[in-house]
Symmetry: C2
Subunit: 330 residues, 2 copies
DNA sequence: CTGAAAGCGCTTACAG
DNA sequence: CTGAAAGCGCTTACAG
C-alpha cells in the first residue's frame, strides 16, 4: 500500500491540505513548514498518485503520440524530438503505433480519451479528414504530415518529390521508375502528383508500367524491383516512396547483379541517418524530422495552454546527394 | 466536459451502481437492462475515466516498459513483441527510453510509480543489482538481458560470443579485434569474457590493442575502426558489441578502402532485420528478440496475477552466417 | 437483481 | 498561513 498525503499529514501533525500545498509549492504557505513537509515526504518515500491528481484536476500531464509504424526509424526519430519538448515541459508521453492499420488507429483514440490525455500528436494517419475533424472536439490534436488538418506540421512532399525528379532528370535519366506505398493516402497522392508533374514539365512521357506498388517497407521495395527488372525496357533510375523502400530496392538490385548506381540510380525519401551508412550511401530527400516533431510538440503545448489557433505549418525538405545516384549512360 | 456514469444513470433512470455493473459485465444484473444501458452508453459516446477507475481499484491496466535506447532497432522490435502480449491481455503500454543514461533511467521508476503501473519491463538497464532489487518491492518487474535479476529473460551472451569467435577462428582468423560498448556493464563484461575465453581455448594470444571501445552505436563503430586501422598489425576480422556498432565498422572500413569481407571480416551481435539488407549482408549472432519480449511480457503478467516465482530464463542465440565474413588469407 | 453509501487520494474554493 | 469540507468519477461491499 503506497503512502498517501494523509500519512504525511498525520506524521507532521498538519492537515492534508497543508501537505498538498507544500508539495505543490503553493504560495500561501510558510517557508518553514513547506520545507519540513517536503523533507518528510521524501524521507517517507512518498510518490503522488497521478490517478487521484488527474481525477480531481480533470486533466493529465501526458501527451499521446500515435505513429503509423515504429519499426520505421522515421517515426522513432520523430518520437525522440517530441519527447524532448514534452519532457522539458513536464509532460510525459504515451506512445503507440497502429502499424499502418486503420482499425488500430481508431481504437487508439478511445484509449487516449480514456486516459483523458492533455493532447495528442498523430503521425502518418490513415484516417480521412472527416474523422480527423472529430478528434479535436475533445482533445487538442496536432497532425504530422497531414496538412489539410487545421493544426498540423508537414514537410512539403510535392516540392521534395520534384527536387528528386529534377535532380535525376538533370543527370540525364528518362526512364525513372516510382515505387509507391501501395495505399492511396494523401502522402502517396502527393508523391505521385509530383512525379507526374516533374516528368511532364520536362516533356518526358509517363510510362505507367514504371509505376509499381511497394508497401512502405523493405519487402515492398524488393518485390517492386523484380517487377521492374522484368520489364522489356528497364528503368535507369528508381525513385522510392521512402527510405525503407529504397533499402529494399537497392538490396534487390544488387542481388540481381545490377550495380547501384552504375546500372541503376536509386533515390529515397525521408533522410534516415541509417541510409548514410549503406553501401552505396543513399541519395535521398531529407524531411526535417527533428523540426517536424519539435514544432508539433510546441504547437500542441500552445493548444493545451489555450491558444485558439496554431495553424498549419509546412517545412521544406532538402535533397541529400550521396552515392546511389549517377549520370545516365546512353 | 466528458459524460459520466451519472449522466447515463439519470437518463436510464437507474442508479450509477447499476450502470457500472452493466458496463463491467457484472453477473448480478438482468440481461435486458444490461443491454439497454450498454446501448445507451454507446449512443451517448461514453468513454470511462481511467483515472477514476484506477483510483478506486488501486491499480492500472498499463504496463511500463523502459528501454535503453529506442533509436536502436533492437529495442523497438522488443517493444513490438511485448506490445503483442500486452494488448492481447487488455493491457496497454507506457513506453519510455532512457537513452543509455542512468539518471534518466532512475527517474523513469518514479514516473512508473506515479502512474501506479501494473508492472514494468526494463531492457538494457544501466542500474546495478542493488538498486534493481528495490524495484520489486512496489511493482512487479521483469528484466530483459539482466539475468542476475530474479525475474528475467536473457539471451545467453557468453555462448553467443563464443559461437561468433569460434566461427571466425574456424575460418582461420587469428587477429580478431573486438569493438566494445565502452561502458562496463554486465552485457559488456560477458562479451569480453567470451572473447577472451574463446581465444584462450584456441591458444590464440590476447592482444589488448585489438580491444577498442565503441559506444553501442554507429559512431562508436566508425571511431573504433580508425583506431584499428592505425595498428601496425591490422586485424583480419572484427567482432562487434552489437549490430549498430557493426554497421559503423563496415561503413568505416569501406570508406578507408578496406573491402568487407575480402580484407576484413565483420561480425555483429543482435540479428537486426536491417543488417540483412546491407551490402555485404552482415554475419551476426541473432538474439531471439521476439521470444525475449514475448516471454518477458508473459512472465510479468504471471507476476501481476500473483505468481510468486517466475524465475530467470535464458534463451539461446544463433549464428547467422551471411556475406560479411570469409576465410582468412594468410 | 438493484440502490444508497462509503471511499480511492488528491485539490481547491471557502472560512477563519 | 492553515483547516474542514466538498468533490473529481468510478467500484464494491452491504442491505434489501
Amino acid at each position: 500500500m503506497p503512502i498517501s498525503i494523509k500519512d504525511i499529514a498525520q506524521k507532521a501533525d498538519v492537515s492534508p491540505s497543508t501537505v498538498s500545498r507544500a508539495l505543490n509549492d503553493h504560495p500561501r504557505i510558510s517557508t518553514e513548514t513547506k520545507k519540513q513537509i517536503q523533507e518528510l515526504a521524501r524521507s517517507m518515500g512518498y510518490v503522488p498518485s497521478q490517478a487521484a491528481r488527474n481525477l480531481v484536476t480533470q486533466q493529465s500531464a501526458t501527451i499521446g503520440v500515435a505513429v503509423a509504424d515504429y519499426l520505421d526509424p522515421f517515426y522513432v526519430s520523430l518520437l525522440a524530438s517530441i519527447e524532448d519538448v514534452a519532457l522539458a515541459n513536464n509532460y510525459d508521453l504515451f506512445v503507440s503505433s497502429f502499424y499502418r492499420d486503420r482499425q488500430r488507429e481508431k481504437k487508439l483514440f478511445d484509449t487516449f480519451y480514456e486516459k483523458r490525455l492533455a493532447g495528442i500528436i498523430v503521425a502518418g494517419s490513415l484516417i480521412d479528414d472527416g474523422y480527423l475533424s472529430q478528434i479535436n472536439r475533445s482533445i487538442p490534436a496536432v497532425l504530422v504530415n497531414c496538412f489539410s488538418y487545421p493544426y498540423s506540421v508537414s514537410a512539403d512532399k510535392l516540392s521534395g518529390v520534384k527536387m528528386a525528379l529534377e535532380y535525376l532528370i538533370g543527370l540525364g535519366h528518362h526512364r525513372i521508375a516510382y515505387v509507391s506505398q501501395g495505399v492511396s493516402l494523401r502522402s502517396e497522392f502527393l508523391r505521385l502528383e509530383g512525379y507526374r508533374l516533374a516528368l511532364r514539365e520536362h516533356n518526358i512521357p509517363i510510362d505507367e508500367s514504371l509505376i509499381v506498388p511497394g508497401d512502405g517497407g523493405v519487402i515492398g521495395g524488393i518485390k517492386a524491383v523484380s517487377q521492374l527488372l522484368d520489364l522489356a525496357e528497364k528503368p535507369s533510375a528508381i525513385f522510392c516512396f521512402n527510405d525503407m523502400t529504397a533499402i529494399g530496392v537497392m538490396n534487390a538490385l544488387q542481388k540481381r547483379g545490377c550495380q547501384v548506381p552504375r546500372d541503376c540510380s536509386v533515390v529515397g525519401f525521408d533522410g534516415l541517418d541509417i541510409t548514410g551508412y549503406f553501401h552505396p550511401s543513399l541519395t535521398t530527400i531529407r524531411q526535417p524530422i527533428f523540426q517536424l516533431g519539435y514544432r508539433a510538440a510546441e504547437m500542441l503545448l500552445d493548444l493545451i495552454q489555450g491558444a485558439s489557433e496554431v495553424g498549419a505549418e509546412i517545412l521544406e525538405p532538402e535533397l541529400i546527394v550521396r552515392a546511389s545516384t549517377t549520370h545516365a549512360v546512353n
